[in-house]
Amino acid sequence: MVTRAVPSTRAWEVAASVPDPELPVVTIEDLGILRDVIEDDQCRVHVQITPTYSGCPATETIREDLVTRLSEAGYRQVCVELVLAPAWTTDWITPRGLERLAAHGIAPPGRVAGVVDLVLGVRCPRCGSTRTREVSRFGSTACKALRVCRECREPFDHLKPL
C-alpha cells in the first residue's frame, strides 16, 4: 500500500529535518524545497525536492543527506526526485523559515507578488532600520544579495525575492 506522507507522518518528519547545507539555520521544509514524501509498507520512500536556483550546488548535498537520514531511520530504499515545475519561489518559505532567517542575520525576502525587481525597504536584521542599501545583487550564494545598513553600518545578507 502506498501512502502520501502528509506533514505528520514519520517519513516526512525525517525528511523535513534535513538542514539546508548553505543556510543551516533553516531546514528544507522551512525553505519550501521539500515537495512531497511518499512511503509504502515495504519501507520504501520516494521524496520530491525542488531546487531554489537552477545551478544551486546545495541540491546534490540535500539529495545525499536525504538518503543518509532516511536510511538511518530504517527506510530500505530511498528515491529522491528533482522536480522543476512549478518553479520554486521565495513565497514558499514558511513563516518559521522567515523568522529563523531573520534571527540569524539574514534579511528574509519580501513577497514576490508577480514582480521580481521590485525591492522595497529591506530591513536590517541587526538593528531593524529600513535605511539599507544594496552593495551587490549577487552575494555569497546565488539566492542572496549583499546589503549594508546605513544606520548601524553592518553588512548583511538578503535572501532575494524570486
Partner: protein, 262 residues
C-alpha cells in the same frame, strides 16, 4: 515524463543548452579576475545560474534524442562542429565592458525567450524555462546597471564600452536566426520563431544603450540587426577559431578521467 515527440525538438533544446553552457564557461574566466570582489562573486553566480540551466536543457535534449546521452556526455564528449550555440557567447572576453555588453544582449534575449518557453508544449523545456526566466531577470538588471554606469561614466569607460558594443553588435543577429530550426518544432508550439523576439529584445536593449549615452549601432534604432549573411553560423555548427581552445579547457578533466566522480 510523457510527451509527444516532435522531431527536431532535441536539436532545439541542445542549441539553447549550448548557449547557456558556453556563456557560463566564458564567465568563469572572471573568477579571481573581476575588478572588485563583489563582481567576482556576481559573475560566478550568474555563470552558475547559466550552468544549471544548461544542465536542465541538455539533460532533456538527451532524453528526447533517445541515444542514451546524458548532460555530461553532451557537454564533455562532443567536438566543436557538434555544438549549436550562437557565436556571440563563445568568443573571448577579457574586457569588463565587453562582458557587460554581451551579458545585457544575451540576458535580455534569454528573458524574452524563456518567458515564452515557460508555456512551451514540451514539458521539460517549459519547466526549465519557468525557473530560468526569474534568474535571468536578475542578470538583465545587473548588466543594465553596469552598462549605464560605464557608458555614462568616465571618458575612458564610455570609450571602452562603446568599443565593446560595436564589436558585439555584428553577432547579435544570430539570436534571431531561425534557419536552423525545424518548422515542425515551431508549429507544435515547442519554440517560437526566433525572429518574433527581435522587436522586444532590441527595443529593450536600445532603451538601455540610449540612457547609457552610447551611440546605437547601425539598424538598432529601427529594431534591425545586420543580416547574418556571410557570417559564421553557430546554430549550424560553424564556429570561430576560439571555440576549440575553450572546449579543450572545459572538457579536459572529463576526458582525462572518463567516468570519474567526486
Amino acid at each position: 515524463m510523457t510527451t509527444t515527440l516532435v522531431p527536431g525538438s532535441a536539436r532545439a533544446l541542445l542549441a539553447l543548452g549550448d548557449d547557456a553552457l558556453l556563456a557560463s564557461q566564458r564567465l568563469g574566466w572572471w573568477i579571481s579576475r573581476a575588478p572588485v570582489l563583489e563582481e567576482d562573486v556576481a559573475l560566478a553566480n550568474i555563470g552558475l545560474d547559466l550552468l544549471g540551466q544548461a544542465r536542465g536543457l541538455l539533460a532533456r535534449a538527451g532524453e528526447l534524442e533517445g541515444r542514451g546521452r546524458d548532460e555530461d556526455a553532451l557537454a564533455f564528449w562532443r567536438d566543436a562542429p557538434d555544438f549549436r550555440h550562437v557565436c556571440l557567447v563563445e568568443r573571448d572576453q577579457r574586457d569588463f565592458g565587453t562582458t557587460m555588453v554581451r551579458l545585457l544582449l544575451l540576458a535580455t534575449w534569454q528573458r524574452e525567450l524563456y518567458a515564452r518557453l515557460a508555456a512551451s508544449s514540451e514539458p521539460g523545456l517549459a519547466a526549465v524555462a519557468g525557473k530560468a526566466v526569474k534568474e535571468v531577470a536578475y542578470h538583465v538588471d545587473h548588466a543594465r546597471a553596469w552598462v549605464l554606469r560605464l557608458g555614462d561614466g568616465t571618458e575612458e569607460s564610455h570609450l571602452r564600452v562603446q568599443r565593446a558594443l560595436d564589436a558585439e553588435w555584428p553577432w547579435v543577429s544570430e539570436l534571431f536566426d531561425g534557419s536552423w530550426l525545424d518548422p515542425e518544432v515551431v508549429a507544435a508550439g515547442v519554440l517560437p520563431w526566433p525572429d518574433e523576439l527581435r522587436p522586444t529584445v532590441l527595443g529593450e536593449v536600445a532603451a538601455v544603450l540610449a540612457r547609457a549615452t552610447l551611440r546605437l549601432p547601425d539598424g538598432l534604432a529601427d529594431g534591425l540587426a545586420p543580416e547574418p549573411g556571410g557570417r559564421l553560423r553557430g546554430r549550424h555548427g560553424e564556429h570561430t577559431d576560439e571555440l576549440p581552445g575553450l572546449l579543450a579547457r572545459m572538457q579536459q578533466v572529463a576526458r582525462a578521467h572518463p567516468g570519474a566522480t567526486w
